[in-house]
């Protein structure tokens, strides 16, 4: 394992600037998640570290060594692709052993066998080793894809939305499993996702990417509680943060154009709040209920208190409780 340093890297595909002057350091043994919407440049960043793309400018260092011009094979990285990319002509065992059998490694066959068995046990696929890669369920394929990276001990594991194709239950299990493996191995992981739960639960630090730029990097808590701008604030939180015109509220700081109110920033009562809103809808999601409000023409979504027994058409009173403030271009304004 080693430290990976991305220094001022830019990459454009034709006119599209995929990654723009991005700098990021993943410390030894750290789990960094890159979070951002589709097309934000997360995958390109990962591919640049892997050597599958060459940066237009900037440099990449792994373990203190500049690898910017190196071939992927010489970088000592492992990659988990979003699309599994299991070799369909090989068995699960051969898929897992593939990296160890590379001519540059010369791992003895007995060691390969032992390592593959070990990883297969870890991922609960030891009974599937003789299957063709195509004879697996989606979840099993995904685990083989992760296993293919785990058989190696590279400087860094690069994972591109490795859990995105699993169903919710399996994704939850794999999340815990991956985190456990990472802690056990002390592995350095750069993990790309658009799923905030994955980022929040697994990462030691989250980097939020938007339009090829790293907006903010910090612990999940920092990112959640102290976002630098409205983009970052909108990335985390369920239901999503409500961005409301500051004009709706009295007593906002100077320069604030938008008020960002998460569920915990809103106190809802029958009366006695700062502003009043109308209940438009209550959405029951099973484990929680979303309360949809109309606040002076602006939709507001927050969690409903099951005890409150609200219904559509009810008038409620809202009070802001230390919300976030943003200026006209989305930058954070101190409260």
């Amino acid at each position: 394992m080693a430290e990976v340093e991305i220094r001022a890297v830019s990459k454009a595909f034709g006119k599209a600037q995929a990654v723009n002057d991005l700098s990021l350091t993943v410390g030894d043994g750290e789990f960094v998640a890159l979070l951002g919407p589709t097309g934000a440049g997360k995958t390109t960043t990962l591919r640049l570290v892997a050597g599958l793309e060459t940066p237009d400018s900037g440099s990449i260092r792994i373990g203190g060594r500049d690898v910017t011009g190196d071939a992927p094979a010489d970088r000592d990285v492992a990659f988990v692709f979003q699309q599994y990319s299991l070799y369909p002509h090989l068995t699960v065992f051969e898929n897992l052993a593939f990296a160890l059998r590379a001519p540059i490694r010369r791992v003895p066959e007995a060691d390969i066998r032992a390592k593959v068995q070990e990883v297969a046990r870890l991922l609960h696929i030891e009974t599937k080793l003789d299957n063709k890669a195509t004879q697996l369920s989606g979840g099993q394929m995904q685990r083989v894809a992760i296993g293919r990276a785990l058989v190696r001990s590279p400087s860094i594991y690069l994972m591109d939305e490795p859990l995105s194709s699993l169903d919710a239950k399996l994704r939850g299990e794999m999340r815990l499993e991956l985190k456990r493996i990472q802690t056990d191995l002390g592995a350095t992981i750069l993990y790309v996702t658009h799923d905030q739960t994955e980022a929040m639960t697994m990462a030691s630090r989250i980097g939020v990417i938007e339009a090829g730029r790293l907006m903010q990097i910090g612990t999940p808590r920092e990112i959640y509680e102290n976002p630098v701008n409205a983009h970052v604030a909108a990335r985390l939180g369920q239901p999503m943060i409500n961005l409301l015109p500051a004009a709706l509220f009295a007593d906002v700081p100077l320069g604030a154009a938008t008020v960002g109110a998460r569920t915990e920033h809103l106190t809802i009562a029958r009366s006695g709040g700062d502003v009043s809103a109308t209940v438009t809808r209550i959405e029951h999601l099973g484990d929680q209920s979303h309360l949809h409000l109309d606040l002076g023409g602006q939709p507001v979504v927050t969690l409903a208190d099951p005890e409150a027994k609200l219904g559509a058409g009810d008038i409620v009173s809202l009070r802001l409780n230390k919300p976030l403030f943003f200026d006209a271009v989305g930058g954070r304004v101190a409260a």
Partner: protein, 317 residues
């Protein structure tokens, strides 16, 4: 809906459709098989049966066609034949019954061997070159890629005979006339355009992630190509090889123009059997029947690959 319709699927063809499709396929197969069956039957007929009218479907089989294919014979007087010892083998006795003696082997076997060497040689070369260039066109940013691909395809647009004379002159100058190497190079250059286009389609379908994964796992691009791309392209390679082989095996125009002795292939040779001692259709048919065998064997051997289907299931699209 009624229970009768409950089992009916919108994508599965109905029994009636299936029966209709089946009979169409059988009808087509019969129509295409008739000439082949006719050739094979004729090769076992005597020369008289071969040209009888109405055509004979039931006849007593004879090996005269095959004997005449493999031997050259000279006409002798019955008195001279009387002076010879007992006939040596089946062909000799057939020849003597027609007042002839076997003078020696015909050129069919060497021509057939030429065909094998030239057709398989050019197929191997065309498929190898085609696979590599198709991979290049599929994976790398090649300047003027579309123009180059069109140019490659455009070499197939003119009839081969249009370039026959320039090629004849070129080959004579550089000494490739009537050589196996010359024919291999010629057929390769004709087939490689087909191979590039066919294989590019197949390789485009193989996701890049496979090679990328292999390259990250410590393989060079070429090793990844061999370990990952080639095994998945076998279906396309097999299909391409069959097409190339069929072209090279059957090619007549260039063969008749550019070869005469050393490198002559079977297609220009088979028709000239006719000239040796009358209209010897059974011999021609025998030559054609044997000529069909390698293609049939090759196609049957590769059938497994052709039918195996596409195995891209392990990549989510």
């Amino acid at each position: 809906m009624s229970t009768a319709n409950a089992a009916h699927s919108v994508v599965e063809p109905s029994a009636g459709t299936r029966r209709f499709a089946g009979s169409l396929v059988i009808l087509y197969a019969v129509i295409t098989m008739i000439p082949l069956i006719w050739i094979v039957l004729t090769s076992f007929k005597s020369p008289d049966d071969a040209i009888s009218y109405p055509p004979k479907v039931v006849f007593s089989p004879s090996f005269e066609g095959f004997c005449n294919l493999f031997t050259t014979r000279s006409r002798q007087t019955p008195e001279f034949i009387q002076t010879l010892g007992p006939p040596q083998g089946l062909c000799d006795s057939i020849a003597r019954s027609r007042n002839m003696v076997v003078a020696g082997p015909s050129n069919y076997v060497p021509r057939f061997v030429n065909s094998l060497i030239i057709a398989f040689g050019s197929t191997v070369l065309a498929v190898a070159l085609g696979t590599l260039s198709a991979y290049g066109f599929s994976r790398f940013r090649v300047p003027l890629k579309d123009d180059l691909l069109f140019f490659i395809l455009s070499t197939r647009m003119m009839p081969p005979i249009a370039v026959a004379i320039p090629i004849y002159l070129m080959y004579r100058t550089i000494g490739l006339s009537d050589t196996r190497l010359g024919m291999i190079l010629l057929y390769t250059s004709v087939n490689v355009s087909l191979a590039v286009w066919l294989l590019k389609g197949f390789i485009d379908e193989i996701p890049r992630e496979y090679e990328e994964a292999a390259m990250i796992d410590g393989y060079t691009r070429f090793q990844a190509f061999v370990k990952v791309v080639l095994p998945q392209a076998t279906t396309g390679i097999a299909a391409t090889a069959i097409f190339c082989l069929i072209f090279a095996w059957n090619e007549y125009a260039f063969a008749v123009l550019l070869t005469s002795g050393n490198a002559q292939t079977a297609p220009p040779f088979i028709p000239i059997i006719i000239g040796e001692g009358g209209q010897d259709w059974p011999a021609v048919a025998a030559g054609t029947t044997l000529f069909l065998v390698p293609i049939v064997v090759f196609t049957v051997l590769l059938r497994k690959h052709l039918l195996r289907g596409i195995t891209f299931g392990a990549v989510r699209k």
